[in-house]
Symmetry: D2
Subunit: 357 residues, 4 copies
Amino acid sequence: MAGNSFGSVFRFTTWGESHGPALGVVVDGVPPRLAMSEEWIQPFLDKRKPGQSRYTTQRQEADQVKILSGVFEGMTTGTPISLMIENTDQRSKDYGDIAQRYRPGHADYAYDAKYGIRDYRGGGRSSARETAARVAAGAIARRILGEDVVIRGALVQMGPHKIDRSRWDWDQVGNNPFFCPDPVAAEEWANYLDGVRKAGSSCGAVIEVIVSGVPAGWGDPIYDKLDSDIACAMMTINAVKGVEIGDGFAAAALSGEENADEMRAGNDGKPRFLSNHAGGILGGISTGQDIVVRFAVKPTSSILTPRQTITATGEEVDLITKGRHDPCVGIRAVPVGEAMLAVVLADQMMRHRAQVG
Amino acid sequence: MAGNSFGSVFRFTTWGESHGPALGVVVDGVPPRLAMSEEWIQPFLDKRKPGQSRYTTQRQEADQVKILSGVFEGMTTGTPISLMIENTDQRSKDYGDIAQRYRPGHADYAYDAKYGIRDYRGGGRSSARETAARVAAGAIARRILGEDVVIRGALVQMGPHKIDRSRWDWDQVGNNPFFCPDPVAAEEWANYLDGVRKAGSSCGAVIEVIVSGVPAGWGDPIYDKLDSDIACAMMTINAVKGVEIGDGFAAAALSGEENADEMRAGNDGKPRFLSNHAGGILGGISTGQDIVVRFAVKPTSSILTPRQTITATGEEVDLITKGRHDPCVGIRAVPVGEAMLAVVLADQMMRHRAQVG
Amino acid sequence: MAGNSFGSVFRFTTWGESHGPALGVVVDGVPPRLAMSEEWIQPFLDKRKPGQSRYTTQRQEADQVKILSGVFEGMTTGTPISLMIENTDQRSKDYGDIAQRYRPGHADYAYDAKYGIRDYRGGGRSSARETAARVAAGAIARRILGEDVVIRGALVQMGPHKIDRSRWDWDQVGNNPFFCPDPVAAEEWANYLDGVRKAGSSCGAVIEVIVSGVPAGWGDPIYDKLDSDIACAMMTINAVKGVEIGDGFAAAALSGEENADEMRAGNDGKPRFLSNHAGGILGGISTGQDIVVRFAVKPTSSILTPRQTITATGEEVDLITKGRHDPCVGIRAVPVGEAMLAVVLADQMMRHRAQVG
Amino acid sequence: MAGNSFGSVFRFTTWGESHGPALGVVVDGVPPRLAMSEEWIQPFLDKRKPGQSRYTTQRQEADQVKILSGVFEGMTTGTPISLMIENTDQRSKDYGDIAQRYRPGHADYAYDAKYGIRDYRGGGRSSARETAARVAAGAIARRILGEDVVIRGALVQMGPHKIDRSRWDWDQVGNNPFFCPDPVAAEEWANYLDGVRKAGSSCGAVIEVIVSGVPAGWGDPIYDKLDSDIACAMMTINAVKGVEIGDGFAAAALSGEENADEMRAGNDGKPRFLSNHAGGILGGISTGQDIVVRFAVKPTSSILTPRQTITATGEEVDLITKGRHDPCVGIRAVPVGEAMLAVVLADQMMRHRAQVG
C-alpha cells in the first residue's frame, strides 16, 4: 500500500537512495529450508551492475550484497531476509546543478510536486539504482521456483533497430554487452550505441523475457491475474512505458482464427498447443506454455544535449545533465525484468498453493 | 489478495458468473456525503451493455443496477456500497457443447487446470459480463474524482485498421457504434466488421483513454506507481494483451532529445510542457499533463469457424463456439477501460491525501 | 484496508445496514471443490438469529441465506461466493427519536463525528445485525478447516455471574438459551436475566471459545500471529471490550514455574503438554494444544432507563432507547465468536500452506 | 500478509534475530517534510533498552539507531525510512543447551513445528529484541501524530501486586525502574522482584497505556476498528496474553446504566462525557475521550528453575534456561506498548484523512 513493497504472500520491501549510505530489501514470506547465501544472490547482481562495458554508466559499484537476517547455517528460516548493498561510489557534487532544475523526462518535478522535498543527488529514490534491490529479491524468488522454472531475458530492440528473430540464439545472450540473442544485431548495435554515446544522446529499447517450466494453473483471477501482476511488475521498472504478453499489440490485428492457439492431445496427458499467441496465459492463469513478456524502455533522460526546462522557482533555463549515465538504460533492464518475473511467479505459485493446496 | 478485489484505500470486490442469478460489486472506502443514486450509475452501465447495435452480442440484458447498502437519503455514508445487477437473459443450453470441450483462446482449460472445476455456462466467472461490475464501481470512482477530472476513451484501431489521428474529434465518439473519434474510420469499420461477422470470424482492437484534470503529484513510487497501477488495471480486463503509457513502445525508437518533454514556465505558476511523450506520468507520479493510456484487445475467441481442440478427457475434437458473442469485444472495452482508470485514480487520489494531506 | 474486509488469503467483505433491503458478504479465496450449499450455511445462521427465546430481541428475521455465486452443482468453484440475507422485519419508525439524539454507549456520535452522516435506523451499519454476515462466512471457513478442527463456544459469565467450571458439560450448551455449559448457572441466569429485562436494563457477558484439532505450526509471526489475528477478530465483534488467550490476564499473577507448560513425549511422536496456560499458542504459532479464547461483551447500550445525552445540535436531553433489543447481547455473540475463530483459522491454515507447503 | 509488516497506509516491516549482526525496520508511507533524526528516535530506544537496572537483562546493548534512507537534510522525504540497530553483545554460547531442547513457555517447539528449522541463539526471531525495531517505528509515528497526541504507558500490576489507582501520578513513572505511577507500589515491587530474581523465578505484569488528544472520528469499521487494530497490535508484543479497552473484562459485570458514558454539551461545542467506561472508542471509532488500553504480559519463560521438557528428537529431559533474562519482561513492554499505540494511531489518522479528507 505505502508504495515500496511488492507481492502478497511472497513480499519484498525496498529502501534506499542513489547517494545514501546503502540500499536494501527485506524479503518476507520466504519458505523455510531453502539453501541461501550471498554467493547465490551475487551473480544476479553482477549481471545488473554498472561499469561492465563502455555502454553502461561508469559509476563503479561493487554491489556487494550482505545477508543480515533470515538465513541460518546456510538455509532460510522462514523469517524475513534483510539484504543490504552499500553505496561506495557516490559523486554527489555532479548533481549540484539539478538541485533546483528539473531534468526533462526525469521524475524531478513530479517528486517535488508530490512531496515538496526530494533528495536530488543522483535522482534519490527515483534512481535506477533501486533496481539492485529487486534483483536481489529476484534471486531469492528463483530459489523458491526451483530449477524447473527457467527465466531468460534478452534485448530484442535497441533504438529503432530490432533483432532478426530467425537468428535467435540464447547462447549468444552472454556473448555481447547487450544481452542480445542475435549476434548480427549485436554487432550493429555496438556501432549504433557508440554513435549515440558520442553524440551525447541516448536511446530506448525493448526487452523480452521468456519463462519455461511454469505449470498450468498459476494466477488469481480476476484482479490478480498472472498477466496483470506481470504488467504491474514490469511497469514499476524505471523508464518502462509499455508491456505486452504474447502477441501483445499485434494481436489486435489478427483474426479470431489466427489468434486461437489450437490444442491437440500431448503425450504427457496435457494439451499440446499448436501456437502461443497468448504468451502462456489465458483468463489470467498460466496454461503450461512458455510465458512471453515484452516491455519497452524509453531513452535515458539524462543526456548531454541541452534541453529547455524550469527551476523550482519557475525560472526558464537550459539544462545539460552531467554525471555518469547509461546511454541505453534498457540494457541493464534485462536482469531487472527477469527478477520481476521471478518475484511475480514465486508469489503466484505460493498463492496457488494457499488456495488449491 | 484473494483475487477478486481491486484497489487499496478505495477498494472494490466483484462477484458473479455469466449465467448465475446476478452479479455485483461491493465498493468500500468511499468518502461520505457524496451524492449517489442508481440514476448516477446506470448511464455508465448503459454505455457498456450488450445488444445496442448489430456489432455486439445479441444477449439482451437490461443491466439494471440496484443499490443495496451504503447510501442513505441520496448520499454515501462512508460504509460499503453493495451493487447488484440481475442476469435475465441467460441461455445456458447454448453452452452444452463446451462443458467438456476447451475453447481455444478461452480460459476454459486454464480454469480447469487451476481449480479442477468450472462453471462452463457462458464462461462462468471468466465471462466479460464481469466487467459490468467494474463499470458500476467506476461510476462511484468518478463521483470521488469530481468534475475536474475528465476521463474519455475511444477505439483507435479495429483489426488492422487504425484511425487517422488528424481527424480526431471527441464529439464523434458518441455518433457511431464503435466509440470511434474519426468519422471516416467509423464508416470503414462498419463495413469491415460486417464482413468479419458474416464470416463467423472476429477481430481485435486498440483502445485509448485520455484523462485531463489530474493534478501533479498522484502516484505512489516505487511499486504502486500511477502507471504500474494503470498497467495492472488494464491488463485485468478480459482479452487485453498489451498496455502503453504515453508513447509506449514507440518511445523505444526515440532519441533522448526527442523523448524529453521540455518545460517552460506556465502562466499559472505550473510548468507548461512542450510535448507529452511521457503520457502525463514521470517516476510513477502524475505531472499535471493529460494521462494517456492505450491497451490492445485480442480478437474474440468465440468464433463460428471450427478450431482444433481437446476435451477434458483428452479427446481431440473440432469446436465451433455457438452462442451470442461480440465480433469485436474491444468495442465494449472502451467504457470498461474508462472505469478502470477512474478507480485507479480515485484510489491514488485518496492515497496521496493519506500520506501528504 | 478500507475497513469492511477481513482476512488475507481467505478473505471476506461484508455490507449492509440494519434497516436496508438486505445484508451480505462476499467470500473470496475459497478452495475449489468443497461441498457447499445454503443448507450447510443456514444452521449456523439459525444459531445466531434473533427471536429464539425471550432473552433476545423480538425482531423476527428468518435470516435466510441465498448463494448468488461461486458454487456450481453443489461445489465451490474457487471464485467468490456471494451470500445475501434479506431484511424482512425492519421497523424504522422505532428509530425516529435517535435520528438526532446520540445514544450513550452507542456508535451514534462516533459515526457522526467521522462521516458527518449516518443511517440512524436501527444503528445502520454499526448494528449487530452485521454479524449475520460473519456467521455465514464462518460456515464456509469451517468447510475449509474440515471435521478435525472442532470449534465450540460457550457463555462463561453473565453479568457478574460466572459458571462453575467443575460443572462444564459441552452437551449442556444446546440445552439452554444461553449457550451455557453449566446447567446450574443456566437456571440462575434465567432468573437474573428476567430481572434485568423487566428492569429495562441490560448486562454484559464473557464468552469462551475452544478449538481442538489445530495442528502445531499455524500462525505468522511477528505481526500476523495466530493470537494477534484472533484478538483482532474478537475485538471487531460489536460490544467486545477485552480478549484473552489461555490464562490471559490471570497469567500476569503466575510465576514463571507455574506458567510454563511442561512437555513430555507423547505416544504419537508429538509433545504431550502437562498444562495449557498458553491457550495453545506460543510465539504466535499453534502448538497442537486446544486453542482457548475468551472475550468480554459490554452490556447492551440500548436500555429503557433514561440516560443523559445530547443531540446533533448540542442540546442536552434525556434518552430512552426504544425498539427491540437483546438484554444481553453477549448471548448471541457465542456463534459469532465461533465464526470469527473459524475464519482466522482458515486463513492461517491457507497461509501456512502458502509458505511452508 | 507475510507476517513481518504492520499497518496499511503507515506501514513498517521489521527484520533481524537476537544474535544476528543487526536488526532493523523499514518504515513506509511516512508523510514528507517532518523533522527526523537519529536524535529524535534514540530516546525512545533508550527507554526500552536492556541493562538499565538490575531488574532487566544484563545484556549490554547500546541499541544505537542508524538512519539509512528516507531522510534528507533533517527532513523526511516521503520515501521509506530504513533504520538499523547493530547487535553488539551476543553471547551465543549461552544457548548451546537449547539448540535441541524446547524451553517450556517459549516459541522453540512452535517454530520448529512450523518451519522445521530455527535460529535458536537467544530465541532468534522470536526474541523480544525484535521490539527495539517497533519502538523505532513508534518514534516516527509520534512525529506524524504531533504534540497534541500524548501517549503514556505505566505498569499497573507486577505479579499479583496491583497499584493503588488513587495514588496514580504520571510524574512518578520516570522515578522508578518499573514505569510505576504509584510510588508506594514501586517500593514494594522492588522488594518483590528482588525475591523473584534471587529465586531464579519470574513474574508477569499488566501495562496500561493512555492516549489523550485523539480527536473523534479515527477508526475504520467494521474490521479495521480502532480497538481491533489496537488489540491486534498489543497481542503482537512478545508474551502478551490479554488486551482490554476501557473497562475491558470488568464491563461484563456492569449494568447497561452503569456502563453508558452519558454526555453533556461541552463548552467547545463537543460532547463532554461524564465517564469513560468505553475507553475512548465506540463502534470502533474514537470519541475524543482518552483512549485507555491494558494488556497482560505473562511471566518470562526463561527461568533458572528446572522444568520438564523434551528434545527435538523426543527425549524427555529437564531444562534450566541460562543466559541473561528479564525477571519481569513486562517492565520493558511499557515503551513497546506506547510505540504500538503510536503506530496504530498514525495509520488510522492517515486512513481517516484518505477517506474523509
